[in-house]
């Protein structure tokens, strides 16, 4: 599945996605479901950690952990589900500097808004990926609102 990070196509994803029932790999960066992370985080200190959340999760319980996390992956169950946009904003507002990755129903026409909200990585399904997808980030070059990289709305710039 093509992975975009900071608008670049990358072929190596260091993150190992581990489901609830799976045994933990001995080494490598771990992407865990939120509940499992919260349950086992004490045993995992020192490892590269990420959590996988969806719109039903409480974003505040993730924000409480951001100093221990290097990745928050937000699952978008359907492209019309906009909760992830607010999640990304809240994570960046709280000062999270790690990767915020969109996974699930992720495709071209939301990438620009996602980036402005604070996403910097995107798992794009194979059938929705084309190299020119990169152009989506620059379709609208002006905006009124503040964004993750510059919180000032237009009237304060």
């Amino acid at each position: 599945m093509p992975l975009l990070i900071n608008r670049q196509l990358v072929d190596q994803d260091p993150w190992l996605r581990v489901e609830d029932e799976q045994a933990l790999p001995a080494d490598g960066a771990l992407l865990l479901p939120l509940a499992r992370y919260l349950d086992q985080k004490d045993q995992l200190a020192g490892r590269q950690l990420g959590v996988l959340i969806n719109g039903d999760d409480d974003i505040n319980s993730v924000i409480a952990e951001i100093d221990k996390l290097q990745l928050v992956a937000i699952e978008i169950p359907a492209f019309t589900d906009g909760r992830g946009f607010s999640f990304a904003r809240l994570l960046r507002r709280a000062g999270f500097n790690g990767q915020v990755r969109a996974i699930g129903d992720v495709s071209r026409d939301r990438l620009e808004f996602m980036e402005r909200c604070g996403f910097d990585a995107y798992d794009i399904p194979d059938d929705r990926f084309k190299p020119e997808i990169i152009e989506a980030f620059d379709e609208i070059s002006v905006d009124y609102q503040g964004a993750a990289d510059d919180p000032r709305p237009l009237f304060r710039r």
Partner: protein, 552 residues
């Protein structure tokens, strides 16, 4: 009025190019139907029963003569020579082709217009009082705040995929001509005890399947806090609004489920995080936007005119003057309502020629600006009293001066089954039936102010719940029937109408209205008591009896 900066212009130009590419990718099969559907809706394009329908934004109902001429041009070039004004003060075209929409948008961008967020599950066109800036009752002109909201909400990256559509209305004072209490957010300019101007904020109003009057979430939000407060509400809604059932997804359902106190607590908690953020409005920004809405340079000499003589000499003119013009805050001026409710034509429809004509009249008599109203009429807001007679003559010659504003035939009517794929029943034929029935009735003017609203389905685009008389089309085994409600209002005394009883067949709607009106005339305690007041005083029973009792 507001004039685009380079940024505003670039945004709409780039949005046109973006939409053109989305259309191209859809036609090339690269964009799934469902995804293109969401994208085209966010740009105002529906696929209707017969053809696509394009809804063009008229921010807070205000347009220039140049813009109206462009709307006429689009009607002529891409449609069948007419457009339809809606209760959100937008204009709809019923016959463009899907392929031509990018070209239409490019034409709109030439005159600082667009179709951004006129549909879809995002923040829609903010509406306000069509008499903003020219009525003596308002605390302040609400339009600068509408423009501030327009900019904040336009292509807002966080709130483009809300659980459901989101509508905001702003009023400038105690009068409510924007139906603010049946909006997702209603904002009322108010003054606090310290004499500062701010907003009373209502949340969770709406019509549709679950009609609700909005509840107060804050009695006073300072104007600098407008955007931070709105953002807090939208964020709580975006995170917590239901997404499992589109009929339960509006903010009114969330507010109802949590209770307004709990909802307020969540909003205030979020607001505390952002109240003093960069989003807080600055004096400079408020003043910059206000600078676009400075009052016209009114002519003090306008009070010297021959209006009284003309009124005395011409009864038709006097009837129109009394019905279709309104007090202006400046002596010597009058607000003119251009009726888009002529005899036997769809409510809110206007031809390309009429649009050009109104644009010319606006240039000649009203500072080159036109407003669209929630009631689907147009307004020329700044007409000298001495020009009224000449203006009336031209309007009358062009079927734009039916003296019916605020009366029975000034109905709000959705397009219904004839156009809309959501509708269950026709509405335009019923509107015609009502017009035919009452056109020659001599007690019609005796009835005075009455609001009749009609919708062709429970989505309630015709706002039937808040009509003094509401008419809802329903489908019963393939036949159109009509359910009536009484006692609704969308004004400052907002209320939801109560169901009169079982639905009546299509050919009985006007006859039923007649029974209701005759009952009102019989029961009112004086000619000053309006239909709505009588219904509120006596209740529905006498009206039920007049409609459903067996004939004597």
């Amino acid at each position: 009025m507001y004039q685009y900066t380079e940024v505003d212009q670039k945004l709409v130009d780039e949005r046109v190019a973006q939409y053109r590419d989305q259309t191209r990718r859809f036609l090339a099969g690269e964009l799934p139907d469902e995804e293109f559907r969401a994208l085209r809706l966010m740009n105002g394009l529906y696929i209707q029963r017969l053809a696509p329908m394009l809804r063009v934004a008229i921010p807070y109902g205000l347009m220039s003569s140049r813009q109206l001429r462009k709307l006429a041009h689009i009607a002529r070039t891409y449609d069948k020579g007419y457009g339809h004004f809606t209760t959100r003060t937008n204009i709809q075209y019923n016959w463009p082709t899907l392929e031509s929409v990018p070209d239409i948008l490019a034409e709109l961008a030439e005159v600082q217009m667009h179709a951004i967020q006129t549909s879809g599950n995002c923040i829609r066109n903010t509406t306000t009082d069509p008499y903003a800036g020219v009525n003596a009752n308002e605390l302040e002109d609400p339009r600068p705040y509408c423009e501030i909201i327009r900019q904040w909400s336009t292509l807002n990256p966080e709130f483009a995929y809300l659980p459901r559509k989101f509508k905001i209305a702003v009023t400038g004072g105690p009068d409510d001509r924007a139906a603010s209490q049946v909006h997702d957010i209603g904002l009322h300019l108010v003054k606090n005890d310290a004499g500062e101007i701010g907003f009373e904020v209502l949340v969770g109003g709406g019509l549709g399947r679950t009609p609700v009057i909005g509840k107060q979430i804050s009695p006073f939000v300072a104007k600098h806090d407008l955007l931070t407060y709105l953002e807090a509400i939208l964020r709580v809604y975006n995170l917590h609004g239901r997404r499992d059932n589109k009929y339960k997804a509006r903010i009114k359902i969330l507010v109802g489920a949590l209770g307004v106190d709990k909802f307020r607590e969540m909003v205030e908690q979020e607001w505390a995080q952002i109240r003093d953020s960069e989003l807080k409005l600055t004096d400079a920004e408020i003043e910059r936007i206000k600078g676009h809405f400075t009052p016209f340079d009114y002519d003090a000499g306008a009070v010297d005119n021959d209006l009284d003589a003309k009124l005395a000499a011409d009864e038709d003119f006097r009837t129109w003057y009394e019905r279709n013009t309104v007090n202006h805050k400046v002596a010597g001026y009058r607000i003119v309502v251009v009726s888009l409710k002529p005899y036997l034509k769809p409510a809110g429809d206007i031809s390309d020629g009429q649009m050009d004509l109104v644009a010319d009249l606006a240039d000649r008599y009203s500072g080159g600006e036109i407003r669209a109203t929630h009631d689907q009429n147009l307004v020329l807001a700044d007409v000298k009293q001495g020009d009224l007679y000449a203006l009336w003559q031209v309007l009358a010659d062009n079927n734009l001066a039916r003296p019916n504003i605020g009366t029975l035939t000034d109905m709000i009517v959705c397009p219904g089954f004839d156009y809309c794929s959501l509708a269950n029943a026709r509405t335009l034929n019923i509107a015609d039936q009502i017009n035919e029935k009452f056109e020659q009735v001599d007690y019609l003017h005796d009835i005075g102010n009455i609001r009749v609203n009609m919708s062709g389905c429970i989505n309630a685009c015709g706002h039937h719940h808040v009509g003094h008389i509401g008419i809802l089309g329903v489908d019963k085994k393939g036949e159109d029937w009509y359910q009536l409600t009484l006692g609704g209002s969308s004004e400052a005394d907002a209320s939801l109408g109560k169901v009169l009883g079982k639905a009546v067949p299509a050919d009985e709607v006007a006859n039923t209205l007649e029974k209701l009106l005759l009952t009102y005339i019989e029961l009112r305690d004086s000619e000053q008591e309006s239909f709505l007041e009588t219904v509120r005083r006596v209740g529905l029973d006498p009206f039920k009896e007049s409609v459903y009792a067996p004939a004597h």
